[in-house]
């Protein structure tokens, strides 16, 4: 392949990375044990690596801030970028299992930080398998918001256990969310939408948000508009199915 000047991976005018150089298969096997470093425990997670401006020194215990929003399966980072300016004082992270896509998001955040000084310092991305390692990154009750936007539907029944929302995994998400924290899910696949809603409805530690609460939450609109996947669905005139629930204390 001949290297030409126009095949630069970054767009010269916006400074942002070009998606076509970071294309990857849409699916990645969540059962495979890929080789990415996982912190042994949440205290070992290096905040200075991800949020250098807010956590200058490597062993800085002075900043008590911790990540409060997590986008599970963040894809190309659309939601993170939109949330960053909406909640500038909250720390957020995207978790993505695909290598190339994680690289893209890293470059995107880096470019945004350069072209918009002192903005976008509160978002980052990490390559990991969130179905196995969420307890390694977050302490009990650390998160206030968790996002599961357009997850892999895993249509075949034998693959249902690979779904990121499942009765068993909800135990772990309930552990990670603080009481009052919110879990946002959306999909364009009706069967998956019903499945996720069913799992959340049947779980003793989640209750549905009321219509009024949904209307007053500025984040809800972003579920469809902020991500590439959501925009694609809107372009094709597709329907989306949401299930947004609050973490509650279990009844005794």
């Amino acid at each position: 392949m001949i290297e030409k000047e126009t095949t630069s991976t970054f767009n010269k005018s916006t400074g942002l990375p070009r998606k076509r150089f970071y294309r990857a298969r849409a699916h990645s096997n969540p059962l495979s044990d890929s080789h990415f470093p996982v912190p042994l425990s949440p205290s070992q997670f290096d905040y200075s690596l991800h949020y250098p401006q807010l956590f200058p020194a490597s062993s800085d215990d002075d900043n008590p801030k911790r990540i409060q929003f997590a986008d599970i399966g963040c894809g190309f980072g659309g939601l993170l970028v939109a949330l960053s300016t909406l909640f500038p004082d909250k720390l957020m992270i995207g978790m993505e299992i695909r290598d190339k896509v994680t690289e893209y998001v890293k470059e995107r955040i880096s470019a945004l930080r350069t072209t918009n000084p002192s903005q976008y310092q509160n978002i980052s991305v990490v390559r990991t398998n969130s179905m196995k390692y969420i307890p390694n990154y977050f302490e009990k009750g650390q998160l206030m918001k968790m996002f599961f936007l357009f997850p892999d539907p895993h249509f075949k029944e034998k693959n249902h256990r690979r779904r990121v929302i499942s009765p068993h995994l909800l135990d772990e998400y309930a552990y990670t969310l603080a009481v009052g924290g919110i879990i946002y899910t959306i999909t364009d696949v009706e069967e998956l939408g019903e499945w996720m809603k069913g799992c959340l409805e049947n779980h003793p530690m989640f209750e549905a948000l009321t219509e009024e609460e949904l209307e007053n939450d500025p984040v809800v609109k972003l579920l469809t508009s902020a991500t590439e996947e959501g925009q694609k669905v809107a372009r094709n005139g597709g329907q989306t199915f949401q299930a947004i629930y609050r973490r509650i204390a279990p009844s005794l």
């Binding site: 425990s41 196995k132 390694n136 256990r161 009765p167 068993h168 135990d171 779980h203 530690m205």
Partner: protein, 430 residues
């Protein structure tokens, strides 16, 4: 680049070997040993071997047993394994009073402290619960249905334990994690409330046990791992109280140069009836290691190494009662490739001092000193006499089996590309 074609553990025709297991009745009324699919029990009160009776549709076990356990009250004995069956035996009548089918192979079992529930975990990380209430007439019950209570996502669960006060159930997996979950009023509905995770091990967690201490009703949790450490945890907060590195001390007692680098992974551990001793079975150690736990200081320290003189015995499983100060151990294997024997096992016992005073030494009992004596050994070991070389080969085979089961395979970049060759999107290229 070397041979990328064949790899260790890729051969599907490799015989799967299973280690021998031992369990002791809480009041030492009987001792059970599992070797392969064979469950052997010796009744110490009646001083006679036990004949188990099983009238269920699938009697006894047809494949390697992977877990055996007595309930805390001693009324039940549970066995489960690769045949995807969990069997509940009454220790009064020695009848099989319950037989549960599991979808996957079972890797671990536990009995709730009140004896009402039996929990078992499969190789895909799901923990199931089944009611073990006995039938009034003590007859065998029809196949029971189990309900899933919790899951570690796609990870082999290596150990299950209930905390001494029955409030928590602890599960350990091969992804270095230990999960502490609150036991709900009705376990059949699922255990959804996670109390905490005990994170810190850097390799698979192989075994768990609780130190019973009056100051800590929840108990202090002890865990052993493939990372050659034993750790002490506070089960309510998940905080790591102390870590004990086994590697250094075990170096002094390592087997004579069989492997390139000796492995000090913890195979099994067992808290002893004196309340402070912890016995360890370590890979490559021809004997056991005793640790001392100080519950008020919340520390662990290496106390002694007890070597088994005169024979090659690397224990595969340890067991003890709640009352007698005897530590039982077994070494053995289900089938060994290249040897005529269908299975082999060797049982020994160590008498532990009541308190951990400096003068009191643990004593390795001779065959004639062991409770049940020759009759017990004949029953539990089988009648074959085994040579040292066979036990050494067995230890090697078991080590390889444990590694391939619990340690993630590391592939070089070339090997990974080679392994992806059957992927459809790869086939289109070139």
């Amino acid at each position: 680049m070397g041979d990328a074609q064949m790899e260790e553990g890729d051969n599907p025709r490799e015989i799967e070997v299973a280690p021998a297991l031992i369990a002791v009745h809480p009041a030492q009324r009987s001792v059970a040993v599992a070797v392969g699919s064979d469950l052997r029990v010796y009744d110490l009160t009646g001083d006679c071997p036990v004949s188990l009776v099983d009238d269920s549709a699938k009697p006894f076990h047809s494949d390697s047993i992977r877990a055996i356990r007595y309930g805390a009250s001693g009324k039940l004995l549970v066995s489960a394994g690769d045949d995807k069956l969990v069997k509940i035996w009454s220790t009064d009548s020695w009848l099989c009073i319950g037989s549960v089918c599991c979808e996957k192979r079972v890797s671990s079992v536990a009995v709730s402290n009140d004896g009402l529930f039996v929990c078992f975990a499969d190789k895909f990380g799901v923990v199931w619960v089944v009611s073990s209430k006995e039938n009034v007439e003590n007859q065998a019950l029809p196949d029971k249905k189990a309900a899933p209570i919790l899951a570690h996502y796609c990870s082999i669960i290596t150990s299950l334990e209930f905390s001494p006060d029955g409030r928590f159930i602890v599960s350990a997996d091969r992804d270095y994690k230990i999960r502490v979950t609150v036991v709900p009023k009705n376990p059949l509905d699922g255990a959804h409330e996670i109390q905490t995770f005990c994170l810190g091990h850097s390799e698979y967690v192989s075994c768990l046990d609780f130190i019973h201490s009056p100051d800590y009703p929840h108990g202090l949790l002890v865990s052993g791992s493939g990372d050659s450490t034993v750790r002490l945890w506070d089960v309510t907060s998940g905080s790591l109280l102390d870590t004990c590195e086994i590697g250094a001390k075990a170096e002094l007692s390592v087997t004579d140069g069989l492997e390139e680098e000796p492995c000090h992974a913890i195979t099994d551990l067992c808290t002893c009836s004196n309340g402070t001793s912890i016995a360890l079975a370590v890979q490559s150690l021809k004997g056991i290691m005793l640790l001392n736990c100080n519950p008020s200081a919340k520390t662990l320290s290496i106390a002694k190494v007890v070597l088994i003189e005169g024979e090659t015995l690397i224990p595969t499983s340890l067991g003890t009662s709640l009352s007698e100060g005897l530590l039982w151990m077994v070494t053995g294997i289900s089938k060994l490739q290249g040897f005529n024997h269908s299975s082999l096992a060797r049982v020994r016992a160590v008498s532990l001092p009541e308190d951990n005073g400096q003068d009191a030494e643990p004593v390795l009992l001779r065959d004639d000193e062991i409770p049940g004596g020759q009759k017990l050994l004949e029953r539990l070991q089988g009648s074959v006499s085994i040579g040292n070389d066979v036990f050494l080969a067995a230890a090697e085979a078991l080590k390889t089996a444990m590694r391939s089961l619990l340690i993630k395979k590391q592939y070089s970049a070339e090997k990974r590309e080679f392994r992806k060759r059957t992927r459809n999107d790869r086939k289109l290229k070139n």
